[in-house]
């Protein structure tokens, strides 16, 4: 029943463009002492974009050091990418947002759209 409802809702709200979930990821202890981690997923339904730049920021949009398998993630059209973001325990109270920003190709035409989606970290 729940699966059918979920599928129905997914079909009712089809995903287009640039999407990143969850919107409010939770930081958890990683397998390394003093390092926290959270998991996110990107979905690319932009035909004109294949790369997304990842970043972690504080409330004033200052960058915060982080580690991930990708700084710039390659996500093909209609592709999903699950990735982990690691930050130091010391930065836990400062880290506010994890963002992904589309990287535009040089041969794109017209006025272009750079999309950026930011999830807010839950403490």
């Amino acid at each position: 029943m729940h699966r059918k409802l979920a599928l129905l809702l997914l079909l009712a709200f089809p995903a287009y463009g640039h999407q990143m979930v969850p919107s409010h990821p939770v930081l958890k202890q990683s397998h390394v002492s003093g390092i926290l981690k959270t998991e996110l997923e990107l979905f690319n339904k932009r035909k004109d974009v294949e790369y997304y730049e990842l970043g972690v920021f504080d409330a004033d949009w200052n960058p915060i050091p982080f580690v991930s398998a990708y700084k710039v993630a390659h996500v093909r059209y209609l592709g999903h990418l699950k990735f982990d973001v690691y930050i130091r325990q010391d930065d836990k109270d400062r880290a506010e947002y994890v963002c992904s920003k589309s990287k535009l190709r040089g041969d794109s035409t017209g006025t272009l759209l750079a999309s950026r989606i930011c999830s807010k970290l839950q403490q």
């Binding site: 599928l7 997914l10 287009y16 919107s23 339904k45 006025t111 272009l112 950026r116």
Partner: protein
């Protein structure tokens, strides 16, 4: 003969596979380009997305599935991402407006929005889709109306969706 049929049926049943389909519903914000923009050239020194000038205003759509959970920030361009070499200054003007909404609860989005520099900010207080029009005009020559050099000009609209 019956035994053979039964054996075939059993074999067929054994070969049938259940393929699960799973989906997770969670709050999300989507950004989509519904209509890419085009610069028209009403005169030699102006490039504009205004339809009357031969341009096309780009339309950006935001889809949100949770009310009051996101803020949309949209910035019109203030420089070209690629262009021929320009020796003089370019003056930019632009605007961001709500073009269409999917819910009457979004009727006040434009009046409730705030603006700073080239950016307009909207609190997405209702679920559904909102379409934003992002117009921009570039004038060359720093007031002396010099002709743009021939070539291809591209500019970038920045659309952000930030979880609250």
């Amino acid at each position: 003969m019956k035994k053979i049929l039964l054996a075939c049926l059993i074999a067929g049943t054994a070969n049938a596979a259940e393929i699960p389909i799973e989906g997770t519903v969670q709050s999300q914000c989507l950004i989509n380009t519904d209509k890419p923009g085009v610069y028209g050239s009403p005169n030699a020194y102006t490039l504009s997305t205004t339809p009357a000038d031969g341009g096309v205003v780009p339309i950006v759509r935001y889809d949100v599935t949770l009310a009051d959970a996101y803020t949309a920030r949209i910035t019109y361009p203030t420089d070209f991402s690629s262009s021929p070499s320009l020796s003089d200054s370019v003056t930019w003007t632009g605007s961001v407006t709500v073009d269409e909404v999917s819910s009457v609860d979004m009727a006040d989005y434009q009046t409730d929005s705030t603006t700073y520099d080239q950016t307009r900010e909207y609190v997405l207080s209702a679920t559904g889709a909102t379409w934003f029009a992002v117009s921009s005009t570039a004038t060359y020559g720093g007031g002396s109306n010099k002709a743009f050099p021939g070539g291809t000009y591209r500019a970038v609209v920045v659309a952000e969706c930030i979880a609250n």
